[in-house]
Amino acid sequence: MIAPKKPEIITFRIKRQDARDAQPYWEVFEVPYKPNLNVISCLQLIAENPVTREGRQSRPVVWDCSCLEEVCGACTMVINGRVRQSCSALVDQLLEEVGEGEITLEPMTKFPVVRDLWVDRQRMFDNLLRFKGWVPIDGTHDLGEGPKESPEEQELRYELSRCMTCGCCLEACPQFTLDNDFIGANTFGQVVYFNAHKTGRVLMNERLDALMEPGGIADCGNAQNCVKVCPKDVPLTIAIAKAGRQTTVHSIKRFFTGKR
């Protein structure tokens, strides 16, 4: 819904940080109102004329982005206290959230800040490597026909495949912190995704072994914030319960079989 009265000026309170380990500080910028702005277009306007509300010359705000259509996840930041993509965060809606007040922009708090609103999401990509987030088909030999999948399996796998590694689910998770070893919801989703693939399943035991290590599935506290904030509607709570079921069965099998 569009609020009836629009301001002349939009005010942004932005958390800035000059370098990785530098102290963060706040700056306020003003941008003239136009309909249908998004946060990134406002950051571009600020970059054109980086003067704070007090009239002090500053430098353009640094942020990360790529697709500009909510499929790459790079532009994720904390807007008005809530994590989301800045490319798809519409100013008209944000103004409704804050009323007459300021729109706040902060970098995500669960990843190291590189500069200003740009964070380093490497931890998520490392986890995809660690959990073998792929279907192993390397080699020159003939692999034969692809496996048959039921529509049901396809549907769940499609939903899980939408993850864009944006980090929203980790930012909102009370179990995930900047410096602990919790793996987090998106990787649980990918483990279940690749375990659900008939060929990907070859690596299932290795994935589940890793999932039982410190920081693994057992550390999820079932707050279910992850699924609420996920912009791609990845069915994370189904994935978490499935990962719980798979590790329950796996650990019982391991107990009676033993490790060679």
């Binding site: 809530r82 660690r130 707050a223 914030n225």
Partner: protein, 286 residues
Amino acid sequence: MTQSAVAPSSSFLDRHHFLLRRLHSLTGIMPIGVFVMFHLFTNMQMAFSTFQHEVDWIHSMPALLFLEVFGLWLPIAFHAGLGLIYTFNAKYNTRHYRYGGNWRYTLQRVTGILALIFILVHVATLRWRWPILGEHTPFFAWGWAVPGSGGELVPLATATTALAIQSSLLVILLYVVGVFSAVFHLANGLWTAAITWGLTLTQQAQRRWGYVCIAIFLGLASFSAMALYASVTYQASEVEKASLAKTLEVYRQTGVYPHKGDKPHPPGHEPEAVETRLIMPPATDP
């Protein structure tokens, strides 16, 4: 790339991480959760006349101390110990993410701590009879044969608990907060445990199991409410009051609540010195 296997030099806790966390979940359900369900069912009988009978039955169990240590104290210490670590390592964010699940998550940890405080006070007073609340301490005492009782033991399980609860708002508050915290914690714990173990997969299954957990919550909460109501409105008989007065008299003189096996009898309370006597229940223990 991060290492995918835990190095052999890693600590015991790291190597058995998964097992320990599943044991945390398991101990919450069994034995602790099952015990709490039975315990609250017993308490509900404060509202009826069968409470004393239940208490006597528990006291007549063989190897009671063994059952207590391995069935209750160690599991509770384990569950509470790990629970406290989880509680203080979380990064709560209900201010920005006001979802029902997030509130339940936070409440699970708050009620865990409240239940822990309550359990400690509850066991210290009623089981170990530490008189930490002075004369307001709910304690368990064997009865006295007082004039009017026909020389019979006056069982005091209901009376001592009820009168202690009536004696101070603090004790009522302790019991209301403690018991309802434990009930919420158990019901919500059963809901999350079903996800943890992988029983409830889909949202629909989780919702259905949620209704069951709400029913468990309401059932246990009403048992507790009945017990508390019965305690607050309990009217002690004259004989019970006399027996209790005797107990308090001994407490004032000695600082301890008289109990089976207490030796020596406080001065002036040697069995032959007074016509009211502390009666030992018939020796059923081995």
